[in-house]
Amino acid sequence: MWALWLVAAVFGGTGIVERLLYGERFVAYTSYVPWGMWVSAYIFFIGLSAGAFLLSSLVYVFGVRSLERIAKLSLFTAAVTLAMALLSIVFDLGHMERFWEVFTRPQFHSMMAWMVWLYTAYFTLLLAELYFALRGDMSRTSTASHERDRRVLRILGAVGIPLAIAFHGGVGALFGTVMAREYWHSALYPIIFLVGALLSGGALMTAIVAFFWPRRDEAWRETMNFLSKLLLGLVLFDFLLEWAEYSIPGWYQIGAEYHLISYVLFGPFWYVFWVIHLGFGVILPVLMLTLSKRPVVQGIAAALIAVTFFAIRLNLVIPGLISPELRGLQTAYLDPIGHRLSYSYVPSIFEWQVTIGVLAIGVALFYLGCRYLPLFDQSRRVERRSEEIA
């Protein structure tokens, strides 16, 4: 594991340093396919964050008992994946040193500006929630102050739910509102993003709990079973939405959007949909979750869902951009140097490097958190301990 991380860190770190020194010279995205791997990684990570956060609020706001043990871990995972998302998108900007302009030169029409403001608020809230969730465990406070913290957490969590829905729905709306891109221009997008966030974030948490939870007791098994059921429902619901998204514009096999859908299903990257997404992200996990109650199997199914969800993100961002808005533009004027006036896009090694670098940073943050923060402590046990002290 350590060796693997080290390889990823060196490989990815080199990419990040190159990105800082040479800008976007080595990316494969073009003027016509202006968003690629990094934007996909951004919406992937930010979805994981929103999903993990909403899971934690099931505990703090609605008091779902089966998830109580993993509430703090979910909060922390939400913070780490959000940091990964922000890193991915900052590297994507042509002028990352100007990102603060979103606050100083606000444009109230822009869905992107709203998204940035909302996730800034969300990040602040996440940090506050983490502080209150961990404070009781870090210092041996009294039961009374612990109770007070629980109340604060309930309020913060309640504020966080609409915020997480607004900001992640906003990410979907960022794409959905673009009239020029028929593939994205769908009212279903904000909804699909939210369900996708719950699914991918829930899957990530399930996998983490399955493989990294310190105590393999009955309570752990109970949490795993609960999460697996939740996951099964979400996979199927997400698939239903996906069916709607593909079958409605594609049914009569005519129209501009039909061609983009057939590109996804039968184009050069058909295996991203059929094998990676449908095979390893839907069918296999559904079978595993229905046929087995073993936590290991549930964990592997969850990990498959979480990882292959990246395929959905790639299939969302890129196909929206691969078709010329005016027929013939693809050959009108070419760029012999950087091939930036091209409609074909395959992520470059450099783009993979930066994304893997971001992943390595995220894993390191997560490891440090698990090591030095009381993320796995059960609050009930803590309560008992504080009662003993009192």
């Binding site: 800082l20 002028h95 500006a113 009239m179 012999p336 140097i337 930036r340």
Partner: protein, 258 residues
């Protein structure tokens, strides 16, 4: 308002360039908010020589990958009935531009004379506007140069040195001097969305846009759509005048004669 640099009087059977030059001076005498710059492109006269594209690349010192006015060249029909269609594509300078409201930092806006401007010093390079343009009129400056990866040799070999100096000359998009450069913090317009300016700096000097003057078939017309007697006003009212993707409601200020 300073006097236009040179004046032209009407003559019978004069070149349309002369007519447009005179109209330009008339328009420049008005306050900016009363002008509405527009373009008419006669596709029947276009021979796809691409001198508008090349003139534009030279005028604006465009790097590879950035193009303001490509000419779409399409072969249509099946043998023996084959023909070619040409469509030069500048920025449409839409009355209702989809690229403007998406910008998160208000780095692009519609000026009072109708031109859609970009502030390269403010653009964060998120490329949202590029995705939002239904005409794909915006391209991104990735910081590339024409002489990148060219064989390096002693000075003067293949005139590489001269070429490299020529291409790194500043660009005057929007009337500001831009010296582009890469780096940890790239010098704009590297890292920015760029697009056709309708040659704002040339207009300020009383000159027609570069693509209009280089058009050897006189297929591109430019002028003030608010002036009912201008060539563009008359031509844009022709029955064979169309605008691209009119159904979107973007109201382009570029018309095509079919």
């Amino acid at each position: 308002m300073p006097a236009p640099p040179f004046s032209v009087s009407a003559e019978a059977n004069e070149d349309v360039l002369v007519t447009m030059q005179r109209e330009l001076q008339r328009a420049l005498r008005k306050p900016r908010s009363e002008r509405r710059w527009g373009m008419v492109i006669d596709t029947r006269k276009c021979v796809a020589c691409s001198s508008c594209t090349v003139g534009c690349v030279m005028e604006n010192a465009l790097p590879p990958g950035v193009v303001y006015r490509p000419v779409i060249d399409m072969e249509v029909g099946t043998y023996p009935n084959v023909t070619r269609k040409f469509l030069p594509r500048p920025c449409m300078q839409c009355e209702n531009p989809p690229c403007v409201p998406v910008c998160p930092v208000e780095a692009t806006w519609k000026r009072s004379d109708g031109i859609i401007q970009i502030d390269y010093a403010a653009c964060i390079g998120c490329r949202y506007c590029i995705t939002a343009c239904p005409y794909q009129a915006r391209t991104f400056d990735f910081g590339e140069n024409w002489t990148d990866n060219a064989a390096q040799g002693s000075e003067g070999v293949l005139a590489l040195d001269a070429a490299s100096k020529y291409e790194t000359r500043p660009s005057y998009d929007w009337g500001t001097k831009w010296e582009r450069a890469e780096g940890i913090i790239p010098e704009s317009p590297v890292g920015n969305a760029r697009k056709c300016t309708f040659c704002v700096p040339r207009l300020a000097e009383g000159l027609l846009p570069m693509c209009v003057t280089t058009c050897l078939g006189r297929a591109t017309f430019f002028g003030d759509l608010n002036d009912p007697h201008s060539l563009v006003s008359e031509l844009s009212a022709s029955p064979n005048a169309i605008r691209l993707k009119e159904e979107l409601g973007t109201h382009p200020k570029v018309y095509y004669l079919m």
